[in-house]
């Protein structure tokens, strides 16, 4: 039961999620590391349309959170002054999509006040901004790692399937080994043998490389199967008879068969790898603190008081669920479209 709307929904979802992540700088009112130390664990702000006199405002406004005297991080709203939410405000500098320098943010409030649509964390950093920037890190880690896995898998699978014999035999035994190992254990074990304290950027590439290299086996086996069956087709034999080189045959006749499987695998692997990165960072083995990632953001939930008191700290989990759900929807649609019989 392939529903058109499912495919459409998946594509739109995925497009939206990635657009949000790419334009994080524009959509986020603050930088992920901007601290508002006087407002730790401020709850998400309410957008008011009605003021105390009962007047309706077309422009929503926010009030200031005020620490309730004698409490730790409990806030009341004080609406003596109202701060209307403004569109396209000028704020801190960022690079749009990583290139264009800009100061304009989609929304914000006038300086003395702040706007925290999803509250703040223990250092008073805006959760909404951190989720957007963190998504950039987590998603690109997943995408890059998936790219590594697929490249490695396609390479090994092609060599294995096309040249066969002992190369095939040894690669496939190795692949079995990698498929069979529990991935989290393997990930931790490999991580155990790599340096613990490194710069955030190094950590990012390290984590990506580790996650990506561990997952090569599944795509490799799938690609191998397709190459095996494709290379015995009559037109391949014919072009070989006409003197075509191996690389020509591979490029022209064999590899195009694998694109569908690779695409489906990508849709399955990306959310898995995003979750892998989140898991590693959650345990403090992935990306380090100044760099926001969804795993880092969630790791504060290991503290009892955060888990009990501040429900908005779960927001990154929701983002993670949305991403993995839309990818699964996409993978499902692709799978039904491309390989109706198997899997």
């Amino acid at each position: 039961m392939l529903h058109k709307w499912k495919v459409g929904a998946a594509v739109i979802f995925l497009g939206l999620v990635h657009a949000v992540i790419i334009f994080a700088g524009f959509l986020a009112p603050y930088e992920p590391i901007t601290q508002h130390r006087e407002l730790p664990f401020a709850p998400p702000m309410r957008l008011h349309f009605l003021d105390s006199q009962g007047h309706w405002h077309l422009h929503p406004f926010v009030c200031e959170p005020e620490l309730r005297p004698g409490t730790f991080y409990e806030y009341d709203e004080s609406c003596t002054r109202q701060y209307p939410v403004r569109w396209f405000v000028t704020g801190s500098q960022y690079r749009l999509a990583g290139m264009l320098a800009s100061h304009t943010h989609l929304f914000g409030v006038d300086p003395p006040a702040q706007i925290f649509v999803l509250g703040t964390d223990n250092y008073g950093r805006d959760m909404f901004s951190r989720i957007l920037y963190g998504g950039r890190v987590s998603l690109s880690a997943g995408l890059l790692a998936a790219a590594i896995s697929l490249l490695l898998g396609a390479l090994v699978g092609t060599i294995s399937g096309f040249y066969g014999r002992w190369v095939d035999e040894s690669f496939m035994r190795l692949a079995e080994l990698f498929v069979v190992l529990p991935w989290l254990y393997l990930l931790l074990a490999v991580r155990a043998f790599l340096p613990l304290h490194i710069t955030p950027l190094h950590a990012f590439f390290l984590v990506v490389a580790v996650i990506g290299t561990i997952g090569w086996a599944r795509p490799a086996r799938l690609v191998r199967g397709i190459v095996l069956s494709a290379k015995t087709r009559k037109y391949v034999l014919a072009s070989r008879g006409f003197g075509a080189s191996d690389s020509y045959i591979l490029r022209r006749h064999v590899l195009p068969h694998t694109y569908g499987v690779l695409l489906t695998q990508a849709a399955l692997l990306v959310p898995q790898y995003v979750i892998a990165e989140v898991t590693l960072s959650f345990f403090g083995l992935g990306l380090n603190e100044p760099l926001p990632s969804w795993g880092n953001l969630l790791s504060v939930l290991q503290q009892y008081n955060v888990l009990v008191s501040y429900w908005w700290m779960f927001a990154p989990a929701l983002a993670l669920v949305i991403v993995s759900f839309s990818y699964l929807l996409g993978a499902d649609a692709l799978q039904r479209k491309l390989q109706p019989a198997s899997v």
């Binding site: 190992l181 931790l188 074990a189 155990a192 043998f193 083995l285 939930l301 009990v308 993995s324």
Partner: protein, 319 residues
């Protein structure tokens, strides 16, 4: 039984391969357990060198591997730097707890998944089926980490269930209160594992059943007026068992390796937290030992599935 012999040999080779891989990784690693000591001015370089020699860490890689294999054969599984004792004792205690957790969760998941999957396959496309498929796809998209955090938050806020560890110190000494206490502690980690494992199981059961329910003998049975429940469970389910037995093998194989995250988050004293701790402190024989034990389980689970297949499915025997 050529089939089984081949699979057995295969499994042994696989385990050997994993162990070699583990040692290769350890050798590639910059830094080790004793590096932190070098930073400590109170520990002289000679002491560190002596310690390294005592644990055999100054030897070449092949020698270390040979020593480790010998210690495995003696039943010691290497020596932990941090705990200063053979790894096996450490692993055995932790593995017990892990098995208690994952065994309960796996059994529960299967007990729920089989009837549900069969029921959904009975009328494909009906609202029960569609509801089931919708629920499983939502569950499928929920990462284990999110599930366990949500359940933890629920337990912590409502105080319905105890959180962390296996037992509460305040409970009495009787067998009954203590096992009740254990069950209460088990609820969150096991619940997470069940919820995380269910969607895949249900879908497999459903699709295996769907394949069989179209077969002529099922039509014949229905035509002869055999009661639906009897058709489903007595005729169809055994015929659909082949892929499910392989899946059961995976379930059993994952008993030691599948619960690391849940254990670490809920504080269940199983293998997961041990591995995490060892990873942080680079207690490498514990890391290797844990990976080896969980791989052993995987191999054993698959072997068991193969053996069951030979018993239950005559088609496998012919090859």
């Amino acid at each position: 039984m050529r089939f089984l012999e081949r699979r057995l040999l295969h499994g042994v080779l696989l385990l050997a391969g994993v162990s070699v891989l583990c040692f290769l990784f350890t050798d590639l690693a910059p830094g080790n357990f004793f590096d932190e000591m070098k930073l400590n001015p109170q520990i002289s370089p000679e002491t560190v060198a002596a310690l390294r020699a005592q644990y055999g860490m100054d030897r070449a890689l092949p020698v270390r591997y040979a020593l480790w294999v010998r210690s495995v054969l003696r039943g010691e599984w290497g020596f932990s730097f941090a705990y200063n004792m053979p790894v096996r004792g450490l692993l055995a205690a932790r593995a017990q707890n892990t098995l208690l957790l994952t065994g309960t969760a796996t059994a529960l998941a299967w007990l729920i998944a089989v009837p549900l999957g069969v029921w959904m396959a009975y009328r494909p496309g009906s609202w029960t089926d569609r509801l089931g498929m919708g629920t499983t796809s939502v569950l499928l998209a929920l990462p284990e980490l999110v599930l366990v955090l949500a359940l933890l938050a629920f337990a912590v806020r409502t105080h319905a269930l105890p959180v962390g560890g296996m037992t509460s110190p305040s409970e009495g000494q009787g067998v009954w209160p203590r096992s009740l206490d254990l069950l209460a502690h088990l609820a969150i980690p096991a619940g997470t594992l069940v919820l995380a494992g269910l969607p895949l199981l249900i879908r497999h059961v459903r699709s295996a059943m769907l394949d069989v329910l179209h077969a002529p003998f099922i039509q014949a049975a229905r035509g002869n007026g055999v009661a639906p429940a009897r058709v489903l469970f007595r005729f169809a389910l055994p015929a659909a068992a082949n892929p499910l037995i392989s899946l059961l093998g995976f379930s059993i194989g994952g008993l030691l390796g599948g619960s690391l995250l849940v254990e670490a988050v809920t504080g269940w004293p199983g293998l997961g937290p041990l591995l995490l701790e060892a990873t942080m402190s680079r207690d490498l024989y514990i890391v290797i030992g844990t990976v080896m034990v969980s791989t052993f389980f995987l191999v054993a689970g698959n072997l068991l599935a193969d053996a069951l297949l030979v018993v239950f499915d005559p088609r496998v025997r012919t090859d």
